[in-house]
């Protein structure tokens, strides 16, 4: 690293390390701890597919420029490899600890070497009845091409003897079966990994051939899609093609079970064109993502965290949502407050005869989305429905293509946004013809219209029917439809047009105020801070004496606490039960605090290459409430990590006995509305 910037990839790995470390928190239920291990694996897969893939591309293309942190791509790659290997060891240790604790609780993960006849009988029966019919062993020899190996799937490679020569056979561990197979043993539940059951039955799969050795492996492919969008006439078709191609992306990681037969490894390495530093030897379980969907056995529910049920405040269940919004702006904080209000708005709009039109941006939508159903219903009832579907939402492309086509068939006006820009903003506009007036209802949010993730991600939403928001929303939809050049808005700021300038302007105002001896402070909460321009502007603010507190869940390339550069900047990261996803920007403004919510992080891609929205919170009560939530996050000392100027994150030791655990407080706080929220939260803090 330079004094100025941390490396973004290493910063990301550091974030994933914090996720993994949650598995060490003994105050959490055991399965919750294992879930963090699963999240770690899942995150790491995506990191390899996208980020490592991109760095490998740079190396291959001979790109030799240093990045902001002062490293060449080759150096960055080697640092990633070293860090990942260290993290895998840590993951094995943490998972091992958890599994031992789990065994103490009566849930065991067994091998296949169990001698008891009863147990062996259960194995055989399960293998023959459930596994054997879905297995497809593939022999590898010179007469046929090496079979296609899917990314992220588990495979078994076996060395079998054909005559006097060894030959490789490959079979995929079936994904349709549960990875953890439960068996009964002396009234206890014991789980055996599916791949282990298959491994113990290899002789049965290759009768007449001697199975000399076998091992599990898994590959990761480069999934960093490059689209030539400028010439793409039919974006839908181009993305469909690209998604297909992704299945054939270059192999950038080969995970093998430690101790794999060197002959098997050599054949795999050669067939998959994998270099030595792309091989990762795993001693423990491979691919731990199965812990994400692992349900506790009957009678052991205490091992998992009780499912949290988002609350519905009294006013949220009152009759007419349009009337409710007309009475005043509504703020919702997910997952503490139910996402149903958002779904209700779209549902009611689809049924309400007064509603003329619904317009919405959709980025990631759940599989069986009630919002999609409501939109379809609206079209059937003769309303104008326009939906902007972002086809390039990473790893959701296929899903998005499928329901974009479905909506189109129903008669929804589906648009795919502006060429070259991902539409990441989250906004809904409903046009309603009321007694005398046309009234526009707007919902703006920091998170996606996804009722599933809304239970896991912390996000904020804002409902309003104020004229300026409605007028801006109309303009915004015209702009992203590609039929309007003007982006002259009153309250909303749109990236890539004016968002960067807006943020620079807001920071500059704090700088000017600080220099004038007035109150100046910035509190910003986001997912990542990766933009040299923004970081430098923050350094400038720090040098001017502006106090800056950043709550950044993931990557942060800003170096805090450096004298003469960033001594007034503090960076913390909160990792916990919910994924911190809301983007909140607070500016002290000489005592007249302003809060903005946004779909955008302070990342170059958000500011330059995406369609994003930033909107001010105008309602004073809501503003107070969000300000208080920020304070709570700043005070959190249970799930918070502080970033040091050396790039390491540390959990601060508790200075006094008072624990402030933001997620738990927000989950359990007793309140009916914004006012009681403010009063009660103040008491808890």
């Amino acid at each position: 690293m330079t004094e100025q910037f941390f490396n973004r990839e290493l910063s990301w790995l550091s974030f994933n390390e914090r996720v993994l470390m949650e598995g060490r928190d003994r105050s959490l239920p055991l399965l919750e701890r294992l879930k963090f291990s699963g999240i770690f694996s899942n995150n790491l897969d995506e990191f390899f597919m996208v980020r490592v893939g991109s760095i490998k591309e740079q190396i291959r293309a001979g790109y030799s420029e240093k990045d902001s942190s002062g490293d060449h791509p080759e150096t960055v790659y080697q640092k990633i490899v070293d860090k990942v290997k260290a993290l895998i060891l840590l993951q094995e240790a943490i998972t091992g600890e958890c599994l031992m604790d789990l065994a103490d609780q009566g849930v065991e993960i067994c091998g296949c070497s169990e001698k008891s006849m009863d147990f062996q009988a259960q194995f055989h029966q399960f293998f023959n009845a459930q596994i054997y019919p879905v297995l497809t062993p593939m022999a590898v020899d010179f007469s046929r091409p090496f079979p296609h190996i899917s990314g992220k799937a588990l495979y078994i490679a076996a060395k079998i003897r054909v005559g006097d020569k060894p030959q490789l056979a490959i079979l995929q561990v079936p994904q349709i079966l549960s990875r953890m197979v439960p068996f009964k043993r002396e009234n206890k539940t014991c789980y055996v990994l599916l791949e282990n059951i298959i491994l113990s039955h290899l002789d049965q799969l290759f009768p007449g051939y001697g199975v000399e050795s076998a091992g599990i492996f898994r590959i990761t492919r480069n999934a960093d899609m490059e689209l030539i969008q400028d010439v793409a006439e039919d974006l839908l078709m181009v993305i469909e093609e690209a998604v297909k191609k992704r299945k054939w992306g270059e192999v950038i990681r080969l995970e093998v079970k430690a101790g794999m037969d060197p002959w098997i490894l050599e054949v795999l390495q050669s067939a998959l064109s994998v270099k030595d530093n792309e091989i990762y030897r795993i001693s423990g379980m491979m691919a731990l993502t199965h812990w994400l969907s692992f349900d506790p056995p009957i009678g052991k529910t205490a091992l998992a965290r009780p499912r949290y049920k988002p609350r519905k405040l009294p006013y949220m269940v009152k009759g007419n949502i349009f009337k409710l919004i007309k009475e005043g702006d509504i703020f919702v904080h997910h997952p503490y407050e139910s996402f149903d209000l958002v779904v209700d708005l779209v549902k009611k709009a689809s049924e309400d005869p007064k509603v003329l039109a619904i317009k919405q941006t959709l980025y990631r939508v759940s599989g069986d989305s009630p919002i999609i159903k409501a939109l379809e219903g609206a079209v059937e009832r003769g309303k104008q429905v326009t939906v902007l579907v972002e086809l390039m939402a990473r790893f959701d492309e296929e899903n998005n293509i499928s329901w974009a086509k479905r909506l189109e068939k129903k008669g929804v006006n589906v648009i795919y946004g502006l060429v070259g820009y991902k539409t990441h903003s989250k906004i809904t506009l409903i046009v309603r013809k009321e007694m005398k007036d046309i009234r526009r209802y707007v919902h703006l949010a920091t998170g996606n219209y996804n009722n599933s993730t809304a239970k896991l991600y912390t996000d904020m939403g804002y409902f309003t029917c104020k004229e300026h928001y409605g007028s801006d929303a109309s303009q915004f939809f015209n702009m992203i439809s590609g039929f309007s050049n003007e982006v002259k808005t009153h309250l909303l700021t749109v990236a890539p047009y004016h968002l960067r300038e807006k943020f620079y302007g807001l920071i500059q105002r704090e700088i000017d105020l600080a220099k004038a001896g007035k109150k100046a402070r910035i509190v910003a909460k986001m997912n990542a801070l990766v933009d040299d321009g923004m970081v430098e502007k923050l350094y400038e603010a720090s040098r001017a004496g502006v106090g800056i507190q950043l709550i950044i869940r993931g990557i942060c390339t800003l170096v805090p606490g450096v004298k003469g550069q960033s001594e007034h900047i503090e960076v913390k990261s909160i990792i916990g039960e919910f994924l911190e996803h809301s983007r909140i920007y607070y500016f002290e403004n000489g005592g007249r605090g302003e809060i903005y919510l946004s779909s955008a992080d302070w990342m170059t891609r958000n500011l330059n290459r995406r369609i994003e929205l930033l909107f001010p919170v105008e309602d004073r009560m809501v503003l107070k409430r969000i300000r208080l939530i920020l304070d709570l996050y700043l005070k959190d000392n249970v799930k918070s990590w502080t970033l040091g100027s050396d790039g390491t994150y540390r959990k601060l030791p508790l200075k006094d006995d008072k624990q402030v655990w933001a997620h738990e407080i927000l989950k359990n706080l007793d309140y009916r509305d914004n006012e009681s929220f403010i009063a009660n939260l103040k008491e808890r803090m």
Binding site: L356, K359, N413, D437, Q475, E486
Partner: protein
Amino acid sequence: MNSIYSAIDLGSNSIKMKIVQYGDSKIRCLENISKEVDIGEAVFTKGYLEHHKVQEIIGILQYFKQVMATYEVDRYRAVATSAMRFTENSQSILELIHMKTGFKVEILEDTVEKFITYKSIRDKVPDYQEIRQGSLLVELNTGSCDISMYLKNKLVMNEEFILGTKILKNLMKQIEAVQVNYLPVVEEFIEARTSHIFRLIRNKKIRHYLVVGGEVAQMKSMLFGGRAQISREDFEALYQDIITDHRELRSRVEDLGVDWYELMATVLVNHTFLSLVKTQALALSDINLRDGIIAELIEKDYSLNRYRIFNEDMIFLATSIAKRYKTNLPHAKWIRKNSLVIYREMKRHYPFEERDEVILQLSALLHEIGKFTRMKDYMNTSFSKVKNLSILGMTEEEMRLVASVCLVMISPRDFKKNENLLLVREDQMNRIFKLGAILTLADSLDKSKRQKITLLKVALVEGDLKLEARAREDATLENWDYEQKRRFFINTYGIHPRLEYR
């Protein structure tokens, strides 16, 4: 329920749409969309629009249609301006647009476009009454430059020059190739083209200077940080910077994809005209055709008086032109006033066209302007001058009608032989006679041009048109002429005028 209106404008550089809600005397903007599409460049260089460009226009209009459906628009008006006027294949394009989008687009003549645009001053400029007391409006468009002047609540001048941004851009490019300091040369050219109206502007009590037209938005954002009002000092400072060294500004402007030459054309034209007035500030006004169209739609539906003064601008302008041609104004005004009284009474019983009242008044005011150059037999001179006048709000066809009515009025006995009338469409002849008959009758009552007679009452009584009058001195000449001319009225309407003095 309030009404929802939409106005669509197919301009040279963009297609724009505005949707508003009107109710409780308030206009609320719901949508204001503008999509750049270069129609002008293709038309002005090739003379026609190619298929792909037409498809692009249709695509945009289809989107506009969707947006209109969002609000269940009650009424719309879609118009096309200069680019479509000059397009050879405009009729087939408009048919195609109608087929594919359902929109009926009408091509507006320049004078009508401006008339409608200026109507929006009523809603867009908070102190519009103050503007009408004394202001100069300078409008630069793709094909032309338009200078208008309001004095004492009247539009007294509206001059159009073929001096649009396209012409000036070409000129700038050519001069730039041979002269480093090319901008003053272009300004010299602008002065030469427009100087004949300078005397009409100088020394007038102009209190406001308004920059209007397509380039205003860019001028505002590129050069003046979005300000709607700029001081004369700031404008002069900018002009001096541009003249001395504009490299940095030019690269900034061009980086943003703005046409440097077109922007400079606006600056130079305004610098030329600003030098004629003493105002201390320039207002960069965003009055536009869409707002004017909406004003007209509202006016029609709600029979509003709100735009009355703007509707009278064409009368003020005709008066001002008549004055410039040294017309006997008291006489012309007397005829206008009294013919209007007769017309309104006739209208209660006979069908007239919507625009006949305006044609009648303009004919009354302009019928003698030919005398300015040819006293003898001025009939044909008046005809050709009036026909070629360009008056805000009047189409070319309407001006031909005005000219024909003048012809009939001047020479009610011989007009049928006049070859100029051969140019008039057969179906318009009856209209011309009807208006001509009224004007001839009114003219006869002021034969001496001394306004001796006051018409007290006009009424159709028992099949006769009773004209009750009072004469302040001997009216023998008027009576004699009246007897000569009333025959034409009887032949046209089958009604006997009956002049009675009190």
